[in-house]
Point group: C2
Chain length 252, copies 2
DNA sequence: CCAATAGTGTCTATTAGACATTATATT
DNA sequence: AATATAATGTCTAATAGACACTATTGG
């Protein structure tokens, strides 16, 4: 096709973030309250327009920092910080009633933050259990109830895809450690798996499995009793990104 | 953010296709020759602009039909036709020197086509071995050689991501059948795995594994000798999309 | 006959999962 | 002492992988 700037329709491009964390033994997502129409007053995923000279991943990282104060951490990096990866792109013609918007969604896996949310636009941001958010997206009949209001736009669908991505990725990658602080115990890592998958795992088999997978965990030498009981060894994430053999999700 | 149409920079949105097929026991990708600058004369992935009122997946399906005559087949459908799924989105600011373009890449897995390519713009389209295309992307030193010219734009990177997606997805899904005709033998399916992974598999263990995985294969009753030797049973793809247990790629 | 592919059977080392036991902290 | 969590050990059924063997075509 010949180059003709008038031959293509103009789009707005945004990034939306599915920021997940584990707290209170459940999976939580970051949502922000919308201040203007459409969907005024409803909860939505954080996000915003991609700037003129900005890479997509840079835009996602910038939005993340603006909303949470977290530093993003691309796939390559190993240091502390949240894991960030591209999730999928959503571009149905009427997904935003104002104009044609294509949104590139990014998935962020973050440890439970000490301060609730320390960002700029934090007044109207909160963590919400993904269970409740996704229930709302399904059962549209009882919206009147407490938290059972679906997310704005197609953000319910995006959140569902993000949760499913997280659930499957911790099977065959070491990403579950992204939900943990820099140093963590085997029990804490197990509680991450249990929260994300929504199942109970045998602590003894889990311990044998993760400590036996090469490159998954590296002992730091320290111990902690923050969970009560016998002191547990502290680990940090090892260099391995792909787990072989994978962690097996029960009865799938 | 308040709604202000002048507040966001305009983007062009395109779809690019990674169309893969198995032929001659190797993985091949569809490429088209560029007629205009930039990268004039170079090979590129097929693709084009998303139209004003068009869904992203519809645009990908339309481009696929235009380029190959194939009917696309979204994830839900089970009938004959190529498998189509979203791969990833590429939006580096300078990836197209003419203007800011965000490209949503789609992955298509197609059976080996009887006629080479029966589409509109087929004059300058061909199947190319992915090995050669990706070698070119790596070793930029010997571009002078036969096919060792890298793909236009960032299409080498997109192709690499598509091949990697295909390699990993046939492990835990029944997608390998998308490379086969409607009816196929266990041996033909095994050659698909061998071509995509680039390994040799034990025919006897493979047979036991795939026929023992519930929902993977459904016998049609017919037989064929098109491969020579003893007649082989014909199968079609079963309803299962996720394989449990997964096929295991050797020595990864 | 031989060569080629299809299909089934057998053996073994490994492993997932169930569960016992010991260790070390707090209350 | 009672209780909680950590860590290691044992047993068994299931399985991946190696490989023997038979079946059925074409040349």
């Amino acid at each position: 096709m010949p180059y003709d700037p008038s031959a293509f329709p103009p789009f707005a491009v945004t990034v939306d973030l599915v920021v997940l964390t584990v707290r209170k033994d459940a999976l939580y997502a970051l949502v922000v309250r919308r201040g203007e129409p459409p969907y005024q007053g409803r909860w939505a995923l954080p996000g915003g327009f991609v700037r003129d000279d900005e890479d997509l991943e840079s835009a996602a990282g910038r939005e993340l920092t603006e909303e949470t104060g977290l530093r993003s951490q691309a796939l390559e990096d190993q240091d502390a910080g949240a894991h960030l990866e591209q999730l999928a792109t959503y571009g149905a013609p009427q997904r935003d009633p104002r104009m044609r918007v294509v949104s590139v969604a990014y998935l962020v896996l973050a440890p439970d933050l000490p301060s609730p949310i320390a960002g700029g636009d934090a007044r109207s941001a909160r963590w919400a259990a993904t269970d409740a958010l996704l229930e709302a997206a399904d059962g549209a009949d009882r919206e009147a109830e407490e938290q059972h209001v679906p997310l704005a736009f197609d953000h319910g669908e995006i959140l569902r895809d993000g949760v499913e991505r997280a659930r499957s990725k911790i099977e065959y990658s070491s990403l579950a450690t992204a939900f943990c602080p820099a140093e963590f115990t085997v029990g804490e890592l197990r509680r991450v798996y249990e929260a994300v998958w929504g199942v109970a795992l045998d602590p003894r088999n889990f311990h044998r499995k993760v400590t036996g997978t090469p490159g998954f965990l590296v002992p730091t030498g320290g111990t902690t009793t923050r969970q009560g009981g016998r002191p547990a060894q502290l680990f940090r994430a090892g260099g391995a990104t792909l787990l072989n053999p994978p962690m097996l999700r029960p009865e799938v």
